[in-house]
Symmetry: C2
Subunit: 129 residues, 2 copies
C-alpha cells in the first residue's frame, strides 16, 4: 500500500476530526466524528487514513495497555496520557516529569519509556457516583 496522496473528502473529514478533538481519539470515535460530515464513510477508510496520516507523520498512535489504540495529531513533543477509569477517555498530560530511570538489570539498554496515569477526569469526578 503506497502512501495515500489524494485529498478526498473522507480524508479531510478524518483530519478535521482529529484536529478539533482535544484528546486522542479511537478509530470508532473518529468514525463517528467523520460520519457527521461525510455520510456513509466506512471504518475501513478510517483505518486506512489513520495509517496514511501516521506515515505522513501527521498523526501519532497512542497505545493504551489493554485497550484499542487511540490516535492524536503529531508534533506535540514528548508527553504522556491519562485515562479516566469511568469514561475510558484518554487525555494529554503536559510534558514528562520522569526522573532518570534507576537500576536496569545488567546488560540492558534503555531507549524509551511510556507512562500512563489512571484516575477520574474532571467531568466524571464531579458527576454522581
Amino acid at each position: 500500500m503506497a502512501i495515500q496522496v489524494r485529498d478526498t473528502r473522507q480524508k479531510k473529514a478524518i483530519r478535521a476530526a482529529f484536529s478539533s478533538a482535544a484528546r486522542p481519539l479511537s478509530p470508532e470515535e473518529a468514525l463517528q466524528e467523520a460520519a457527521a460530515h461525510v455520510r456513509g464513510i466506512s471504518v475501513a477508510t478510517i483505518y486506512r487514513n489513520i495509517h496514511a496520516l501516521i506515515a505522513e507523520s501527521w498523526l501519532s498512535p497512542v497505545e493504551i495497555p489493554g485497550e484499542p489504540a487511540r490516535y492524536e495529531v503529531a508534533g506535540k513533543g514528548h508527553h504522556h496520557h491519562f485515562q479516566c477509569e469511568r469514561c475510558d477517555r484518554i487525555y494529554d498530560l503536559p510534558g514528562c516529569t520522569l526522573q532518570p530511570i534507576p537500576g536496569l538489570p545488567g546488560g540492558f539498554a534503555l531507549t524509551g519509556h511510556e507512562l500512563f496515569l489512571y484516575g477520574l477526569c474532571a467531568a466524571c469526578n464531579q458527576s454522581p457516583a
Copy 2:
C-alpha cells in the same frame, strides 16, 4: 462461569509454566510450555485457566501497550516492566521509582499509574545486530 476449583493436570501444567518462568508470559508462550507436559492441551484451556488463576489472585495480568497481554504470578508487589524491542519479551523491573506525579489538570483525580521501559535486553544487546 464459576471459578474453576478442580486441580486438573492441565491447570497444574499451566501453573508450573508461570512458576518456572522468570518473566511474564503470553498465553501463547504458556501454551507452548504447558504443551510440553500435557500433550493436546488447547488454547481455550490456557485462557480459561489464566482467568481462573487471576480470579484466585494467583496470576496477575501485565497489559502491554499495543500487544497481547502477558501474565505473571501475583504477589510481587508494585513494580513495572521492560520490553525488549528486538525479541519482544517482557522483563520485570524491581520496585517503582516514580516521583510524586506533577501537574494534573484541575479537577482530575489520580488513582494509579503504569510505567513501561523499552530497550534491548541483555541477550539481544550482546548478539549481532
